[in-house]
């Protein structure tokens, strides 16, 4: 029977254990979150298309005829979101190259572009002029776009924390896992946004 708290100590003469490789705990966790987020957005889109099939099978228009999609602000909003993906990756490149000033600029620009997207989406919702309960289109559309907005806001939180930690002197080329993870989640929020834009706004009569 093994004594409490010990493992038999007779193996000391054997060769030492091989050192483990670098383990990116935060990045692995972020990838799991991204996997779950991908399924979430996929499930909501599946619900949207399922509702669309049922409504169209009943001979009703989708979206309802009174709905006028504000295509220009929507397109500009999602284009802005796409641009933010480049600035997010710029932050990673900057810290890899030890350029802290560029990193600050990249973080600031990313947050700015993200906020511009939030503003554009809010404006587009107001232009749609539909209430959530008014039709199946409105219910499912709001379910998808509000959830995506929450994902974008979560990505903002990651970048805000990263900004403060960067200002506090943290991160270096050898210690940039948080930056890489936050950027990965940001890219996910952008990719999800593009899929949402294509499936909902573009397919329903975009530019």
């Amino acid at each position: 029977m093994t004594a409490p708290g010990t493992i038999a100590g007779s193996r000391a003469a054997l060769p030492p254990a091989q050192a483990p490789g670098r383990r990116k705990v935060l990045l692995v966790g972020t990838l799991f979150v991204i996997a779950a987020g991908t399924v979430l957005i996929g499930a909501l889109l599946a619900g949207y298309f399922s509702a669309r099939d049922m409504v169209q099978a009943a001979g009703e228009p989708w979206p309802p005829e009174e709905v006028l999609l504000p295509n220009v602000p929507l397109f500009m909003g999602y284009l802005t979101l796409l641009m933010s993906s480049f600035t997010a990756q710029w932050a990673v490149s900057a810290i890899t190259g030890r350029d802290r000033r560029q990193m600050y600029v990249a973080i600031g620009l990313t947050l700015l572009l993200g906020l511009a997207f939030v503003n554009a989406l809010s404006f587009s919702w107001s232009q749609l002029g539909v209430a959530a309960e008014s039709s199946r289109f409105a219910t499912t559309m709001f379910a998808v776009t509000v959830t995506h907005l929450l994902v974008v806001i979560a990505a903002h939180l990651g970048f805000v924390v990263m900004g403060f930690r960067a200002l506090g002197g943290q991160f270096s080329p050898d210690n940039r896992e948080f930056v890489v993870s936050a950027a990965a989640f940001w890219h996910f929020s952008v990719a999800a946004g593009l899929v949402v834009w294509y499936c909902i706004w573009f397919l329903e009569g975009g530019p």
């Binding site: 029977m1 254990a17 670098r22 799991f32 219910t139 210690n175 896992e177």
Partner: protein, 537 residues
């Protein structure tokens, strides 16, 4: 197994990313619970809370059983019956079964992989408190006439929000567990060498992480619909939630139960699996077959793939029985409570898979009948819950530092095993005579009444078993029981290489290098000298 005193860090390694923060000694009492981020305390909180919820869920099930005996409603009103019916399923699965295994894994996975802590301790703590608050909110929502069949829109909002918070808490806890299993394993512990409970959490937890967001998506849509005045019952809301504990998702929920049985039986029968990888394969195969329940709609029930998957699902359950039976045959049967409970769980998992396999046979038309309830009860109550009790009795030395009473464990086995048989078997017969789920009016009162009475008696036995298990566990949590040694079972995996219960940093001063799936067994064999070693790789 090889050991070194310190693990050399490769150049440029960010040590903060390698070793998770080690929890400081927590303050005593309630403050300690509220502020802790020691994965062991969080795991214990999950386990005890889920057991308390099980008492409520089991009680609700017993009331439903009594209500079903005769035609018409005797105890509950029409609306209340539907509410209790949905509450029973939600509590049993979402507030007991899933959180129990989350708690067990939060406690055990870091120990089994040789880590000093869990990957995201604050995430796990947040998940626990979100689980507790959402569980209590769920009861509040039902009390406010919420729920799927509730009359209060505000109550239904609250109900949907509580389930959504539960889904988020589950996902958060899973991310922490999975990251620990993937990124914090001891040197030499490849994924194929991971302990089978940890592997079952990687498979079952990974698939649940991919299924829970689907449930969350449905809940978001239902919430928006309900909040703005829509009728959630009209869009089949309960069906959009209940798939989470229906065929084939039940097999995913039962995967950790397979891991528990495959950990316990070889240790207590003193015969390691002939090949560790066979346990890995059985668990993996079972998980694959259970994935995709969310994709099914009624029209898929006749699809060849659905029928084939249902029939093939019997195979991993049969293989599980074969592996465990082989261990017992080679090692011998020791009448210990964890062994009885684990073997009982495996038998019920097989019966559940068999019932599921029969239910998909075209022409029998068993969908929508109480046959489905029997299948779920065999799998989740007789199988997974019995495995949960087996885990409590087996890992009690690690969880609480004391042994649970073997006599109480045997009583729990008898009550739960035979209770589950009595609960589910009559429903198989009633299912064949087309008694539908949630039916309160019976066509053939004579036989159906007798069978429903037998089923209700089985439920009552089950509730008694739950009460004995919960009482024994609460006693152990309070420190009552025989003090346990570090490795009282002469087990194989790393959680037994430390004290019972472990110190805050899990392991004292040694870093373990693993060269097989059973490092402690290797240690013992090495200490005893050369002997024919059984294959474990």
């Amino acid at each position: 197994m090889t050991m070194t005193e310190t693990r050399p860090e490769p150049p440029g390694t960010d040590s903060a990313a390698v070793v998770p923060p080690v929890a400081p000694p927590p303050p005593a009492g309630l403050a300690g619970w509220l502020t802790t981020y020691d994965h062991k305390v969080i795991g214990r909180l999950f386990v005890v809370t889920s057991l308390l919820f099980l008492v409520v869920g089991g009680g609700a099930g017993a009331v439903l059983g009594v209500e079903r005996i005769d035609s018409g409603l005797q105890v509950l009103g029409e609306g209340t019956f539907a509410q209790v019916y949905t509450l029973h399923g939600e509590v049993a699965v979402l507030l007991f079964l899933v959180p129990f295994f989350l708690g067990l894994a939060t406690y055990l996975v870091p120990l089994q992989v040789g880590a000093a802590g869990i990957a995201f301790p604050r995430g796990s703590a947040t998940a626990y408190w979100a689980y507790l608050v959402s569980g209590l909110t769920l009861f509040g929502a039902y009390a406010a006439d919420g729920g799927i069949d509730g009359g209060s829109a505000v109550g239904t909002d609250l109900y949907l929000l509580s389930l959504a918070m539960l889904a988020l808490a589950t996902s958060l806890a899973l991310v922490s567990i999975l990251t620990t299993a993937v990124a914090l394993r001891a040197p030499g512990m490849s994924m194929v060498r991971t302990p089978l409970f940890t592997w079952s959490m990687v498979v079952g937890g990974g698939l649940t992480l991919l299924a829970t967001p689907v449930l969350l998506g449905r809940l978001i849509e239902l919430y928006i619909l309900n909040h703005f005045g829509g009728d959630v019952a009209a869009v089949g809301a309960f069906g959009q939630i209940a798939w989470f504990w229906s065929l084939p998702q039940v097999y995913v929920l039962a995967v950790p139960a397979m891991g528990v049985a495959l950990e316990i039986v070889p240790v207590l029968s003193r015969a390691r699996l002939r090949r560790h990888v066979s346990g890995i394969a059985v668990i993996g195969f079972s998980g694959i077959l259970g994935f995709g329940a969310w994709a099914q709609v009624e029209s898929t029930f006749d699809d060849t793939l659905y029928v084939l998957a249902g029939l093939v699902a019997v195979l991993p359950a049969l293989a599980l029985l074969g592996l465990l039976g082989d261990s017992v045959r080679r090692g011998g049967f020791a009448r210990k409570a964890p062994l009885l409970l684990a073997l009982g769980a495996a038998v019920h998992l097989f019966l559940g898979a068999l019932a599921g396999g029969i239910s998909v046979i075209p022409g029998l038309e068993l969908g929508g009948t109480v046959w489905a309830a029997a299948q779920v009860h065999y799998t989740l109550y007789g199988g997974a819950t019995l495995a949960a009790f087996a885990a409590l009795w087996y890992w009690s030395p690690k969880l609480w530092g004391v042994h649970l009473s073997d006599g109480a464990g045997t009583a729990v086995f008898l009550l739960t095993f035979w209770g589950a048989v009595l609960l589910a078997a009559p429903d198989l017969l009633n299912g064949l005579s087309d008694q539908t789920l949630m039916a309160t009016d019976l066509d053939e009162e004579g036989l159906a009444t007798i069978l429903n009475g037998a089923s209700a008696a089985g439920g009552a036995f089950g509730v008694l078993g739950v009460l004995v298990a919960v009482t024994a566990t609460l006693g152990a949590a309070a420190g009552r029981g025989t003090r346990a040694l570090a490795d009282p079972w002469e087990a194989n995996t790393l959680e037994w290489a430390t004290t019972s219960p472990p110190p805050p940093h899990n392991f004292d001063g040694t870093v373990l290098a693993v060269t097989s799936a059973a490092p402690l067994a290797d240690e013992r064999e090495h200490a005893r000298g050369p002997a024919p070693s059984q294959e474990t790789r």
